[in-house]
Structures are given as structure tokens and as C-alpha cells.
Subunit: 157 residues, 4 copies
């Protein structure tokens, strides 16, 4: 879903985007699957989804639920560390990235490796150019939350 | 949950046990998590749970949903092969084994390694003696579905 | 290879068995693959192998080498926790279990699930009966280190 | 190590780079760890390493050795699919990427997530700019094989 680390200057912007995205995902009846931890855009997106009455799945990296977000409905405890990023990619119909960091980049790359479509929202131009160079047919750049939702709707159609 | 392979002479008995167990799990409001494939006792248990109005999670071993049971509500696609057995163990509050084969034995052993309680239902005496020798405090032997449900209720209390 | 936990009354016996087994494995030119941690029979077996001039591979569960045995030549850092037990099973031609605990039981069960032969050495009768009940064709019980080596030699022939 | 897929127009260039890089890695006494399959730059790099008398480890994605390169000395069979990319990242002291595709991008991103240094060799400018934007301190761009070897030497010092 997006970086868990809170060191970005863009944090406030990304948190707002993720919250609204989560709410919209819920309002369309889609299930939101994230890394499940209580930080960053994944937490914001799940809180948005819950505020919209949606269902959330958290694919946790640790061996227990100690890092879980309050907004996870269904916790999957993997104990796999970052190897769980591949489960996020394989279990999603569409991957939406909000912002970008090494963990988000891994999820996007693993999604492309598995031929899953990706929507980039609020990512830096370097990320958009790079991932488009990897697979232009699978990578969609959204200008805002409404654009991301439209892209997801078309990809699921 | 139990063996996926259909080569057991006890198949009919185990399928009936799993179906009833799934129904009872649903009626208690618990979520049923299994290996998610369309065979053996996991399939039977999930069909039982759905007939009782419950929710089912399937932790699939393959890289896609090609082997999924119709009775899975929430598919988690791991692509991990048998390494996904550890996710089943870590994500469950109690593991109930119906019948026994190598895959079920791996799940039970991984559950005990993670200090999770295990209920054995319809397993051979060799399995009961062995797992009890590994950790008598965590292993509970149930005589029938009602006994398994009582054990789970006490373990979750 | 065998239990990492040191709480067994049989610890001294199993450590001696594992050390001698490791030495014999090395003398036959076979590579020893274990869980790689600095404790229990896996550590003893690797020290035995090194004393015999052999090569050792350690499949570590953690995300770094902080728990590694001094006797590991080639560390593979998985970060997978107990899910790495399946790598041990898949990467071995024969699995030899010395003693028995939940982790060893998981490795044996995963080996049987992958149709790999298993040799049990110094395990309790409950373990021998149970695993033989799972797959009599793949499970071999050895009375001592010499018997285990003979079994491995035949299985690799 | 680099893309396994053979659809790149840059294939010949990357194969030559990887072969020479493998040879140089061997001549410095370093162990080469790759994804272990018999295709693309990973195969070329391992063949180069073997021609230079080096040792190679292959972290295979499948549940057996059916896709293995002839040039693998030590096969680790993970059965994890693309989740094994994280083992490559965690088990390496330095990750060198030759060329770029979704799988290589996942390895680089997972290496950065684990705070491992990365050397990019023969990658497109979009990749260099993107990964540098993620973590400028960990990403090193090499102009040729000699530059990559110099970078690795400094990173290991």
C-alpha cells in the first residue's frame, strides 16, 4: 500500500491520500489488503476503510500480532518478514501504491513480476518513470484518489 | 485442518467429522482458517462452515487461485508451497486436526513450536501418543465433534 | 537435524550422537545442512562435521546472522522463522533426525510431505511409531550412528 | 543478480557483463549467490564464476531442482516462488544488479529495505535515478565490471 516508515516530508499528504483512498475502496465494496502494521499509509488506509464500513486484511510480517493496526479485521500472521510482500502482491487483484519507499517498491516490483496491475498515487516522478520502463502495460499513474479509483474500477471490470 | 489427500480408508469418516466441525465453528461465530484447497477435510470443513453461515479464510500454497475451494470467502495466495503451513499455525488461536497425514502433522508440529494449543479429532492413537509426548500441556484429544468444540471454547476463554 | 532447545534430559546423549554423526557425514564427503543456529544438536552436528573436514550449510530462521553457529561455512539468511523448516526438507536428499522436539517433528513431517526419505536416530518410540504410520516406505529407524550412515548410503545409492 | 527473462534487446550485452563479473567475483575469492536458474544473467554470472574457479550458491524458487543451472555448486531449494528474492537480499553482503527487470527490481528493493548496499551495473538511467531516490547512501552506480568490483571491494572493507 505504501511506506510504513514515518520519515517522509510527504507524510501528511500521503496519510490524507491513503485515508481517503481507504474510504473510497470501502464504498465500492472492495476488500482492502495491506501489510497490517500500525504505522504509515497502511494504517491510514485501513482506518479510512473502516470509517467507510469496509473490510480489511492485514498480512503481518512478524510471528505474532504485536505490531498490528487497530483497523485490521482479519490478521494473517506470516512470520516471514519482508518475504510477506510477495503474498500482498499475489493476493491482490490490483495493487495501489501511495507514496514510495523500499518496501512499497518491493511490493510493486513483485506485483509486476506476477503480472498484476499497479496504480501509483502520490509517488515521485522517478518512481513513475522507472516502473513504467519495467512494464508500461501494467503500470497506471493516478493524479488523485478519484483517478486511482477509476483506474481500479477499469482494471477489475 | 487435516489431510488433503484422498487416499485414506477413513476418508468418509473424516469428511463427515470435518463438515460437522465446520458447521459448529460457524455457529459459535469463530472464523475458520484452512489451507484453502478444494479437497479433503479442509474442503469439507469449509463447506460445513458456509452451510452454518460462517466465514472462511483459505491460505493457498500455490501462486494463484487455481486450486481453491468454492467455500473460501477470503483467499490468501502465498505461493510458498508447504512453507505456508507455518502461516496456518501462526494465524490460528487454536488448531484442530481432523485425521492425520504428513501435511497435518507439519501443521500440528509448527503449532506446538509456536506454543499454540492443538485439538486432535479422529486421529490414530500413534499420533495422539506422539504429539502428547512432545507437549502434553498443549495437546488435547477430542472423542467427537462436541468434545472438540468444548475444548476450543475452553482454550479461547 | 534435531531439537535446538536444551531442555531435554537426553541432551548429553543426543549431542554425542550428533557430533559423531556430523563427523561421519564429513568423512563420506556429504554436505551437512542444518538450521544453522548455535545450539542443540544442530550445533553439535556441525562441529562434528567441521572436525571431520566437512562442509556445512546453515539455513537460518532470523533476518541476520546473530544466532549463527561458529561451525557454519555457508549461511543462508532466510528471515522466515519456522517456515524455513521447509527449505531444510526440500534442500536435503535425506533428512536425519537426532532426538525429537516440535521443530524436528515439523522438519520430518515436511520431508515426508515432499516424499524425501527420513532416518530417525535416538528418537523416542512414540516418534518412530507415528512417523512410520505416516509413511513406512520413507521412514528408517537407526539404532546407532553406524546404522544411520548405512541407511543414508543406501538411500543415496 | 539480474533479469532471468531473455526478452531484452540488451541480452547480449548483459550476458557478457555478467560472465565477466562472475569471473572477477571468483578471482577475488568471494562466493556468488544467485537465483540459481538456468537462464539469463544469473546463469551467465555463475558460469563466469565457475570458469574462474569460484563457488556458487543457487537459491531456487521451485520445489525441486528441475530449473537449476549447471553452474550451481550448492543448491538451496526453497519452494517459495518469488518470496525467495528476500533470501537473496538477506544472505548477500552486497547485491550487484546486472540489467533490470521486475525480479531484479524486487531484489534491489528488498536489499535496500534490509539496509544492504547495492551496485547497479548496466541498468537503465530510470533505474539508477529511482533507486538513488530511495536511498542514495546504499546505491552505487558502476560504469563497467571493473567499477563494480572496486565498489564491492570498498563495501566489504
Amino acid at each position: 500500500m505504501g511506506p510504513g516508515k514515518l520519515d517522509s516530508v510527504d507524510l501528511e499528504k500521503h496519510t490524507a491520500l491513503a485515508t481517503e483512498l481507504g474510504k473510497q475502496i470501502a464504498s465500492h465494496g472492495w476488500i482492502l489488503l495491506t501489510g497490517g502494521r500500525s504505522l504509515g499509509v497502511m494504517d491510514a488506509a485501513m482506518k479510512g476503510a473502516k470509517s467507510g464500513g469496509g473490510t480489511t486484511i492485514g498480512i503481518l510480517p512478524g510471528p505474532d500480532t504485536s505490531e498490528i493496526s487497530d483497523a485490521v479485521d482479519i490478521p494473517i500472521v506470516t512470520g516471514l518478514g519482508s518475504a510477506r510482500d510477495n503474498i500482498n502482491a499475489l493476493s491482490s487483484n490490483v495493487l495501489v501504491a501511495v507514496g514510495m519507499g523500499p518496501g512499497t517498491a518491493a511490493e510493486v516490483a513483485l506485483a509486476l513480476k506476477a503480472k498484476k496491475p499497479v496504480v501509483l498515487l502520490g509517488t515521485q516522478p522517478e518512481a513513475e518513470k522507472f516502473f513504467t520502463s519495467l512494464d508500461a502495460g501494467l503500470v497506471h499513474v493516478a493524479a488523485d484518489v478519484a483517478g486511482a479509483i477509476t483506474a481500479v474500477k477499469q482494471l477489475l471490470a
